[in-house]
């Protein structure tokens, strides 16, 4: 008995154990941290309970606007009563199941593609077919579906359309620009540098203005391109310049030996890039690329300024209805939650992917 006791592991001191120990270590280590904790808790106690009371206990969830004017809490009715307009905008009422199905398809596909084991050639074909199906659903005109003009596309489907197509089209363009910027051919290089610096130096809304007021002047007489497509082009051109800079960072991080090895194997430029350099470079830059994609997603909201009705603008026009005027806080908080969920899921997915792709750290938590 007494012989075995020295090998028994010593328990940590009791001040480091349990709730109290955790608090000692994390909240009250030293006088400064204790003071900080007390002040912070007091501040939270001042802000959080009134907010909770406003947002939940006193809130009205599905009432007419008149009831909201009387009650003291949040008026979530502004969302529930107008949800259909906020989500679908001016899309014809009886046909709104179509964008709903298209969005559902998109979300389901994104969910399915999350797993890296499913990244095969077939997945690419599935995406292509799904995008065509979504287009047909939105536009109609065949298979007995009522045709719907693009000018009536609005709300959340428009936001998703602008962001998904903006990202998908900007990515390859960005990679090409990055390769051009790293090229040894002076003419190609200076064109790419000029493009990237010019686009990155100006705000997105100047490009959107350009797409809405200047672009029609560039087209020959009689040719018109619809407004959504023009805005989409502006978003693609803008995002591509940012992606190009990120990819350039990745290209610069590849050691020279990799290029030389590829050359000594007799690979030509295209093969070197496609098989050796880009797979490594693009993997390195996953985190910043996701950062760019997240900002592209948020930036689609700027189309409000050229009067496209994305989900932010449908919300705004709901609020301009005299009946619902004055409940902007609730409506904007709802939208903020919507955008937050989108961005947060993207960024946490990118963190997971980064962990999976970095060899040797598979099981490690951040």
């Amino acid at each position: 008995m007494s012989a075995s006791s020295p090998s028994q592991p010593l328990r940590p001191p009791s001040t480091r154990l349990g709730v109290w120990g955790w608090m000692r270590v994390n909240l009250f280590n030293g006088w400064f941290n204790s003071l900080l904790t007390v002040v912070t808790v007091a501040g939270l106690g001042w802000v959080v309970p009134p907010f909770l009371r406003w947002a939940f206990w006193d809130a009205l969830w599905n009432t007419p606007a008149e009831a909201c004017r009387v009650g003291g809490g949040a008026c979530w009715s502004v969302i529930t009563k107008n949800l259909r307009f906020i989500i679908f905008g001016f899309y014809p009422h009886p046909e709104q199941w179509r964008p709903a199905v298209a969005m559902g398809l998109l979300v389901a596909l994104l969910w399915y593609s999350k797993d890296r084991r499913r990244w095969k050639r077939s997945l690419g074909w599935i995406w292509l077919v799904a995008l065509v199906v979504m287009g047909v659903l939105m536009r109609g005109g065949i298979l007995g579906l009522e045709p719907v003009e693009t000018s009536q596309w609005s709300g959340l489907p428009l936001t998703l359309l602008l962001s998904v197509f903006g990202m998908v089209a900007a990515y390859p363009l960005g990679v090409v620009l990055a390769l051009g910027r790293r090229s040894r051919l002076p003419a190609v290089k200076s064109l790419c540098v000029a493009y990237i610096e010019l686009i990155r130096g100006v705000p997105l809304i100047s490009l959107l203005f350009m797409s809405s007021v200047m672009f029609p002047l560039f087209l020959p007489e009689g040719v018109t391109v619809n407004k959504i497509l023009r805005a989409l082009v502006a978003i693609i051109l803008f995002t591509a310049a940012y992606i190009a800079e990120v990819v350039r960072g990745g290209l610069q991080a590849i050691p020279r030996g990799q290029y030389e090895a590829a050359e000594s194997l007799g690979l030509n430029y295209v093969q070197t890039m496609r098989l050796i350099i880009l797979p490594q470079a693009l993997k390195i830059v996953i985190p910043p690329t996701v950062g760019i994609l997240i900002s592209a997603f948020k930036d689609t909201s700027l189309v409000v300024i050229i009067a496209l009705y994305d989900v932010l603008n449908t919300t705004k026009s709901t609020l301009s209805n005299p009946q619902w005027m004055g409940f902007s806080t609730e409506a904007y908080l709802f939208l903020a939650l919507l955008y937050f969920l989108g961005c947060f899921s993207m960024s946490s997915y990118s963190r997971r992917l980064e962990r999976e792709l970095t060899p040797g750290t598979a099981g490690r938590t951040r």
Partner: protein, 393 residues
């Protein structure tokens, strides 16, 4: 062996010669770009001629005919478009400069809070960063603007969080010292103190290099910067009168007033950008390994010297480049002012485009002005970055 030495010179056809191929490829790219450019240019010419739109910047000299809500210089509707655009530029500069200063302060604070050993503070800072980064800045601007218009009371019931400070749907009102000649002397004294500190630093460094003795530059410099203006204030008659905003009729008079548009724009930009700055500051501080602090301590440096001579120079190297792009982002995002009706440059240029129909010139002006901001900011920051960068071999 023999074959391979004799073969190449004669046999390389021109399409296999890398140098010639490169030339041909570049010529093709340039030709395509020029052709597309010419095609667009020709279309523009035809369209402008057909729609009878004037070209050129002649409109800048014409009378603008619109009022601008707030302006740092005297401006009326009878002034020219050029002056209206200048007002826009000054408004953009004002909001960007103030925004950058506040963003750096708040971002540094939150970034340090994120690294606090206090669990609660660190988690709160983390939540602040994650939430504000993930909400579009335009939505945030709308939110703050709506808050000013809907939640805040009218001037008669204005909130007064501090004596003399009022918050109402007409904006934020702050007391400022009443005009007095002494303030001009204080400004002059401050400039003199800045020059003095610069000279003092040079002298102190030279002396340290020559003799090794350290002069308490920071403390003496701070005393100069605070003391000289205070002395000027005291000599100038020590004025204490304040210009406090007071209710007169339906609105406030006196004091410094920030319009709801300006306040909402500033608040939205600062809160949004500071979340990004906080992450940059955190990464910069974390990039300096703890061993550096320990090494500095074991050399016997004081904590002030450790921070000043060891930690900050290394952290700043990591912080400055991304911080520059955040400053530029803030400046560019200030163009969203057009959405909430603050007359920044884009907003004024947009009105000009709508009135004159000269879209190309208008958009070109917008792009030129922002490119100028971007290039000068990054030139300054690159100069600063070069000064603090690691000197290698």
């Amino acid at each position: 062996m023999i074959q391979s030495t004799s073969a190449p010179a004669a046999a390389t056809p021109f399409w296999n010669d890398p140098a010639k191929r490169a030339l041909a490829f570049q010529a093709a790219v340039l030709a395509v770009v020029l052709a597309v450019g010419y095609y667009l240019f020709a279309n523009v010419q035809a369209n402008l001629a057909r729609q009878n739109i004037a070209t050129g910047f002649g409109f800048l000299g014409r009378e603008s005919g619109f009022e601008i809500g707030e302006s740092p210089i005297a401006y009326s509707a009878a002034d020219t478009y050029a002056k209206a655009l200048l007002v826009g530029v000054l408004n953009t500069l004002r909001v960007s400069f103030l925004g950058i200063v506040l963003t750096v302060l708040l971002g540094t604070f939150v970034g340090i809070a994120r690294l606090s050993t206090n669990w609660l503070v660190s988690k709160l800072a983390g939540a602040y960063i994650e939430v504000l980064q993930d909400i579009p800045v335009l939505l945030q601007l709308f939110f703050w603007y709506a808050l000013f218009n809907e939640i805040l009371p009218s001037p008669r019931q204005a909130l007064s969080p501090l004596p003399g400070v009022f918050l109402c749907n007409r904006g934020l009102l702050l007391p400022i010292p009443a005009a007095h000649p002494a303030y001009r002397w204080m400004a002059a004294a401050f400039v003199a103190a800045c020059v003095g500190v610069w000279l003092l630093r040079r002298w102190a460094r030279k002396r340290q290099e020559a003799t090794g003795r350290i002069f308490p530059t920071f403390r003496v410099g701070l005393a100069l910067l605070l003391g000289l203006p205070a002395l000027a204030w005291w000599l100038g008659g020590a004025p204490t009168a304040m210009n406090v905003p007071h209710l007169k009729g339906f609105n406030f008079r006196g004091g410094l007033s920030l319009s709801p548009e300006f306040a909402a724009l500033l608040l939205g930009l600062v809160l949004y950008t500071s979340a990004f700055v906080a992450e940059i500051v955190r990464a910069g501080i974390q990039s300096v390994s703890h061993g550096q602090t320990e090494a500095a301590m074991s050399l016997g440096l004081t904590s002030g010297q450790t921070l000043n001579l060891v930690i900050l120079p290394q952290a700043l190297r990591v912080i400055v480049p991304p911080l520059t792009s955040q400053m530029l982002n803030l400046t560019k995002n200030s163009s969203l002012a057009v959405a909430i009706g603050f007359p920044d440059f884009v907003s004024v240029a947009n009105t000009t485009i709508n009135q004159t129909g000269q879209a190309i010139e208008g958009v070109a002006l917008i792009m030129a002005v922002y490119l100028m901001f971007s290039l000068s900011t990054s030139a300054f920051m690159n100069w600063y970055n070069k000064r603090i960068a690691l000197v290698e071999r």
